[in-house]
Amino acid sequence: MKTVEKVVNTRKRAGEESPGKIYSDKLKVRARREWRGVKDTFYDYTRWLYLLSVLGKFIMVPRNIKGFFRYRWMMSYLFVPHGMDKFTVGLRDEALRIAHTSFNFVIADVTQAIANCFRGDRRVGNDKAYSDKCVITDENSMVTFMMGFDKEKVHTILREVPTMFASNIFHQFNVMHYLDVAQLNGIPGDVCPMPEAEAGISIEDDFCVLGCCAVQNNTTCDGSLMGNGIIAKRLERQYGIPTFQLATPLRHKEPDVLEYAADQIKQAIEFVEKHTGEKWDWDRYFAAAKRVNFATKCRIAQLEINSTPYPQFFGAAFSLYNDTNYMGNSGRDPEFIKIDKKLLALAEQGYKAKRMYAKEYRHRAIVWGVQPQYVIDMLYWMVQCWGVMPLADMLSIINTDMIADEDTPANREQAYRDMAMLNMEMIMRNHTHGGYKVLLDDLWELCEKMNADLVMMWEHMSCKALTGMHGMFEEQARERGIHIMWVSHDLCDPRVFTRNAIRDQVNNYMRTVMREEPLDPSLEHIPDDEAY
């Protein structure tokens, strides 16, 4: 089997040695916050204050209070600081700053998204003029088709992000109610819980109702495609909001689907123009394309740092920041450029200083598959408890090609193909769909490139595209001498796999297969199954 050189941290960790003591089996939150040494604790404290200011500013607006009491999922946002603590557990120095810089920005973005939803929501803010310029899109949707619209005039509302996706990170139980609603209405319990929960939210009437139109996508999976039908029915038939289904070919590596995909993008743009009354602007598009390219370069640079013995930007923060930037932003917001630059500078600084975030790195892991929302701190735990360093995750291995970013007549046609390519190669589906090569071969290439000896394989049990290749992963990993550690879960339903049931799969693998002892035994079993 392949082995990698162990990297030992020669520096003493600032503050308390182990974050294991901050958990409590009597509370649904942590007993206290982590002591990270004076400098890092103070930094973390200031970021906590910042978060409170963001949340405080939000709740000062009367319509947001109204929305808070109208929508069950808003309960999750009581626990945003608790959620943020999951992203920083055990972190110090640059990694702590990277996690805060990236995820504080994401939180501010989501908070703004909720505020926007409430502003236009017919039941809450009911700002009709605003709502008439809003376009609803899916949570798992690239918004490339909005790149050429003025974001101050046409508002892209990814209403499923705050409602389901993000809220589940802060409160692990919040989705269960909606899953129950969906199942009570006849959807079986074996489909992916994410589109199922979204369908449940729609059935329960717990989505904000706004917008002049909606654009739906089939980007992730059969479940997502099918769940959209239920959501669209309510939007169209009850609320009179026209929907457009942006069909995105699955075999995205085949050149013979590109023209169709490009045509779908054109149709989506025309649909948005028709319903918002706003015009597509090529200057705006190419400016956004430049930003997309910049983000791509930064992501590649971050991955290059992670391919060294001293990775800096890793774990859930890396993955979720990339999701937000690549998919939810798609170059539309210039603010991301500043954040990208800051993150890269911090990572370079950490790399130069050879910063490490555990006592030692014993294994270099590629994280493949889809991470469960409710154990978002898993990868930080894995490195600190077992010394397994997550170098890159499947959701962050996205497009690395530059798109046309100069405004020429030829590039205007190319632009549709670029948008189509990005749309087809949305996070996750660029590996889970499009043939087995993008799922299997890409993984082994990445292992080689990043010098990984282990694959931590998230087996999202309802994700048929992934589980359908289970045996092939096993066989091909064996042929290549790469350890494959299966970790099963059910994405956002903690009743199926609790947090400890998930972590125990790693514990068992490390003890029985790898014959290793934990770096930090106090972390092996954390009493957080009942915590939010």
Binding site: C192, D222, P249, R251, G468, M469
Partner: protein, 399 residues
């Protein structure tokens, strides 16, 4: 009713995937094109010189090997097919053409390819994967034409020298239409109070038309049609007439089980059923045949994967229209367990057909081989039949 003359013959053909007619057609020098999804235009797989066989796995028992490769969370049809392929049950195939329709079936065929389950001694053997349309627009027709050209016609021509000309396609469509006419004419005997064919018998004939070389069964199907014209229907009325909707039914035992409970399966709206699978393709001279075939498949497609809302609603309207045409008193929405597309379609369809169209609906999931859950299913169907009868009594009709 008197037994149909050829029923046993057709039943025997369904006992194994590698039926005797496949061997005979191959001996004739024809190329065997295996496929797994109804969205592949069937006439293109039946051009002169080749014949299509829809893969199925009768009498599936253990699926241990397939479960290792695909886990027990994938739908049973996909695992059953992989298991059969690993066992060598599909070695008659000269190629496999599959669309990236539903993820699980696509993964099933990909596993077949990676495990080299077929074509070991055939250097021309190939696997092809197609993108299929999501909507019923002309753009989707264009996509379908391109996909069929690149992933069906080209490889068949290049590997096996199959004639893929317009004339050849027209010939294949004419043969296809002949088969469709017969099946639909037979299916029409299910209409009316005293049907001359049972749902089970019809299912056997329809399934055979997908899994056998068509040119070798057409004469017997036509003979069966003639026989039905004079067949005396049973006097004893059925307790209820039901329309069966949902994912593929490869196990005729399921239809038999329903009918044993007293419910006549008067129409079949499931994958690889006759509605709309056995609808004639009308060709005109003004346009190339390939485009017209693709358009036909896109327009008539009732696959839940079609995502535009017009299609979403029209699928339910189609079911309601069939229920009216075939005199169904209830609808059974069924889904093979773990099938994602039909899981959602079943939920929305059963709700709309019940609330918007006023039909009693039974919504169930089931295994691939009904024998493993026969008891539970029988109880559900019996209860459903009784509920239909009670409704009839409440409306003042005869039970």
């Amino acid at each position: 009713m008197r037994d149909l003359k050829h029923l046993l013959y057709f039943e025997n053909l369904l006992q194994e995937a590698n039926n005797e007619l496949i061997a005979r057609a191959r001996e004739e020098g024809k190329v065997c094109v295996a496929y797994t999804c109804e969205n592949v235009p069937e006439p293109l797989l039946n051009l002169p010189g080749c014949f299509s066989v829809r893969l199925h796995a009768p009498h599936t028992g253990s699926m241990d090997i397939a479960t290792y490769y695909m886990t027990n969370l994938l739908c049973e049809p996909s695992r059953a097919l992989l298991e059969r392929a690993v066992e060598g049950g599909f070695n008659f195939s000269d190629c496999v053409i599959t669309p990236d329709g539903c993820t699980m079936m696509n993964r099933c065929v990909e596993n077949m390819e990676l495990l080299h389950t077929m074509g070991k001694d055939n250097p021309n053997f190939f696997h092809e994967y197609m993108e299929i349309a999501f909507k019923n627009s002309e753009t989707d027709v264009k996509l379908s034409v391109l996909q069929c050209t690149n992933h069906v016609l080209k490889p068949l021509h290049e590997k096996y020298g199959i004639d893929v000309s317009d004339a050849a396609i027209r010939q294949a469509v004419a043969d296809h239409n002949r088969l469709c006419r017969v099946i639909r004419a037979i299916g029409d005997f299910r209409k009316g109070d005293k049907p001359r064919i049972t749902g089970y018998e019809f299912h056997i004939l329809t399934l055979a038309s997908y899994v056998c070389p068509k040119h070798l069964i057409i004469d017997k199907l036509e003979e069966t049609l003639e026989e039905l014209k004079t067949r005396e229907p049973d006097e004893k009325p059925w307790r209820a007439r039901v329309l069966l909707v949902g994912s593929e039914v490869d196990d005729s035992g399921f239809v038999k089980l329903i009918e044993e409970c007293g419910a006549f399966v008067c129409a079949d709206r499931f994958c690889f059923g006759s509605l709309p699978g056995r609808t004639e393709i009308a060709l005109t001279d003004g346009e190339d045949a390939l485009t017209q075939v693709c358009r036909h498949y896109i327009r008539s497609c009732q696959c839940p994967r079609m995502m535009n809302q017009e299609k979403v609603y029209s699928r339910k309207q189609y079911v309601a229209d069939l229920a009216k045409e075939y005199g169904a008193e209830g609808i059974i929405y069924q889904q093979v367990k773990f099938c994602d597309p039909w899981a959602y379609e079943r939920m929305l369809g059963s709700s709309m057909l019940q609330h918007d169209y006023g039909y009693p609906v039974l919504s169930v999931d089931r295994p691939y081989n009904i024998a493993s859950a026969g008891g539970q299913m029988r109880t559900r169907v019996q209860a459903f039949v009784e509920s239909i009868e009670i409704k009839k009594i409440q409306k003042g009709g005869k039970a």
